[in-house]
């Protein structure tokens, strides 16, 4: 009996120890990288709920505070579903140069297995990661969520809730996913060109900013614009929101390194430097031109710097970030004040003035300041360095996204208008969105 047992145990041991190594899986899942990416995902989601919700809601009038928060909150819910069903597949499925595919419809089937390290794309240009696809999927989802949420700033106080939901679904699928594919998928034509966008200068900020401008122009100015007192309801809320955005941006930029290492560290560093420099620049500009530095100016400056450093965050050094921050602070100040008044459009919360303008600034300056060593890989040991050619590539990408977003947004607004309309009636706008769209009051 004992001998049989021993033999059985030996046999079992033999089977276990001899279990053949499965065919080589490529990079393994790194728990450090994955832990950071899980944390980054949470940070970026926090940027929308409640970061952007508070940031925007604090700036609108009391009668629209809840509705403004609702826009960010519901976009988080809607885009989460859309992304899962089809958005991710269209953005990060292999597809062709212009759009992904339907290989990940409903997220049925994870490439190589749900518990394997994810590789984006295939063939020679594939990007290997050390995180599971679920984490990559989720991290990207938070970007897909915040982008349409940014647009809401342009049409604050006057868009129908039904129109917002429909427009968001269409925009996420038809504008966001394709652009994300162009810039971040190895098959994407902008990626292949060699244009740089580390964390979303084009995909998120220019895209949303330009869409915002088009929305502001199509929907028209708020009733009483230029005449009524539209002072912010509670800038305290906006400051809290800005704080959440600032810290959350660490996940946005440093998380775009897709790992926890030196690249993430440098991205974090330059993000902070740019935000700080831009805050100071905006404050000084305001102090000089308006006589007093305002709280709203400070938080707007911070966001301006964060927007501008977004595409550059994985490619530049701290001293470049300082310059980018200063330029962004001044450009954002100009975009949110002089430009708006000059052109006369009602971009209520400066979706274009800050995100559009500073996204453009950041994208272009990435081409100027990129420091090769930061993006060096064994395959490309020189990395991407700033040069006139790189600047032109950045310009090309910027213009392409600008034009696509503008035309696409315009079309989708027309479609939405036909189906549910776009703008609330004048009486509803005077009464306020909280009561008319949601039947609720702040207090």
């Amino acid at each position: 009996m004992t001998r049989m047992l021993l033999a059985a145990m030996a046999g079992l041991a033999g089977v276990i120890l001899a279990a053949p190594a499965l065919a080589d899986d490529g990079p393994k899942i790194d728990t450090g990288d994955t832990a950071w990416m899980l944390a980054s995902t949470a940070l970026v989601l926090l940027m929308t709920v409640p970061g952007l919700a508070l940031f925007y809601a604090g700036m609108v009038r009391k009668k629209n505070v809840l509705a403004t928060m609702m826009q960010s909150f519901s976009i988080a819910a809607v885009v989460s579903v859309v992304w899962t069903v089809i958005g991710y597949s269209l953005a990060f499925g292999d597809g062709n140069a212009y759009v992904g595919d339907l290989s990940r419809l409903f997220m049925a089937g994870f490439a190589g297995g749900w518990d394997k390290a994810f590789t984006l794309g295939s063939g020679a240009s594939a990007v290997a990661t050390t995180i599971p696809e679920s984490v990559f999927f989720m991290f990207q989802m938070t970007f897909a969520i915040v982008t349409p949420a940014l647009i809401t700033g342009a049409f604050a106080d006057r868009m129908k809730f039904s129109a917002l939901l429909l427009f968001t679904v269409l925009w996420s699928i038809l504008i966001y996913s394709p652009v994300a594919h162009w810039v971040w998928h190895p098959n994407g034509w902008i990626f292949a060109l060699g244009a740089l966008d580390f964390a979303g200068g084009t995909v998120v900020h220019i895209n949303a900013g330009v869409a915002g401008l088009v929305c502001a122009l199509v929907l028209g100015k708020r009733v009483g614009f230029g005449h009524d007192n539209m002072a912010p309801f509670n800038l305290g809320l906006a400051v809290i929101g800005a704080g959440l955005l600032w810290v959350g941006w660490f996940g946005f930029n440093a998380g775009s390194a897709l790992g926890a290492g030196a690249r993430a560290g440098m991205a974090l560093l330059v993000t902070q430097v740019a935000a700080a420099a831009a805050t100071i620049a905006w404050l000084l500009a305001e102090w000089a031109t308006k006589g007093r530095p305002s709280v709203l100016g400070a938080i707007s400056g911070a966001v301006a710097g964060l927007v501008a450093i977004t595409p550059a965050s994985g490619f530049v050094l701290p001293m470049h970030a300082l310059i980018i921050g200063v330029v962004a602070g001044l450009a954002g100040f100009w975009g949110a004040t002089a430009l708006k008044h000059m052109c006369g459009y009602d971009d209520s919360l400066d979706a274009f003035g800050v995100h559009g303008i500073c996204g453009i600034v950041g994208s272009l300056l990435t081409g100027v300041f990129a420091y090769g060593a930061l993006s060096a890989t064994p395959a490309t040991p020189a990395g991407y360095a700033g040069s006139f050619d790189q600047f032109l590539l950045q310009l090309y990408a910027t213009v392409a996204v600008f034009v696509f977003s503008a035309i696409g947004t315009f079309i989708l607004l027309q479609v939405t208008n036909v189906i549910v309309g776009l703008r609330v009636t004048e009486e509803e706008e005077r009464e306020g969105l909280d009561v008319t769209q949601h039947g609720e009051r702040l207090a």
Binding site: M59, N229, M230, A231, P232, K290, R292, S294, L296, G297, S300, A336, T337, A338, K340, H341, D350
Partner: protein
């Protein structure tokens, strides 16, 4: 009985209250209000957009007093609330028909 209604600058409340107590005034009602008179308000600037804020925060102080105390109360409030700058406020005197203390049922002068 008279209702003395005063619109004063908010930071003057304690002084006004301190001026009324020695006169025998036993209670008053304070409401936060917004208003403007000749004090114009100011320009607030948000993201480069200027807003004329016409309404300024004020306090409305109301006290009901016996007829014979009215003049002294009006003068006391005016003196305590004065800063000699525009926006000091105004005092109005209205007639009161009846008064009742809820707890005891006392009426008119006994209720004050």
């Amino acid at each position: 009985m008279k209702l003395v209604m005063a619109l004063i600058k908010p930071f003057k409340l304690d002084e006004v209250r301190d001026a009324l107590t020695p006169l025998g005034v036993q209670g008053l009602t304070v409401t936060e209000v917004k208003g403007f008179g000749r004090q114009k308000g100011q320009t607030e600037i948000y993201r480069g957009a200027e807003y004329q804020v016409s309404f300024l925060p004020k306090l409305k102080v109301e006290v009901v007093v016996p007829d014979e105390l009215t003049d002294a109360v009006v003068e006391a409030i005016a003196k305590a609330a004065r800063t000699d700058k525009i926006g000091d406020g105004k005092v109005f005197v209205l007639d009161v028909e009846r008064a009742l203390r809820i707890r005891t049922g006392e009426t008119d002068a006994a209720a004050l």
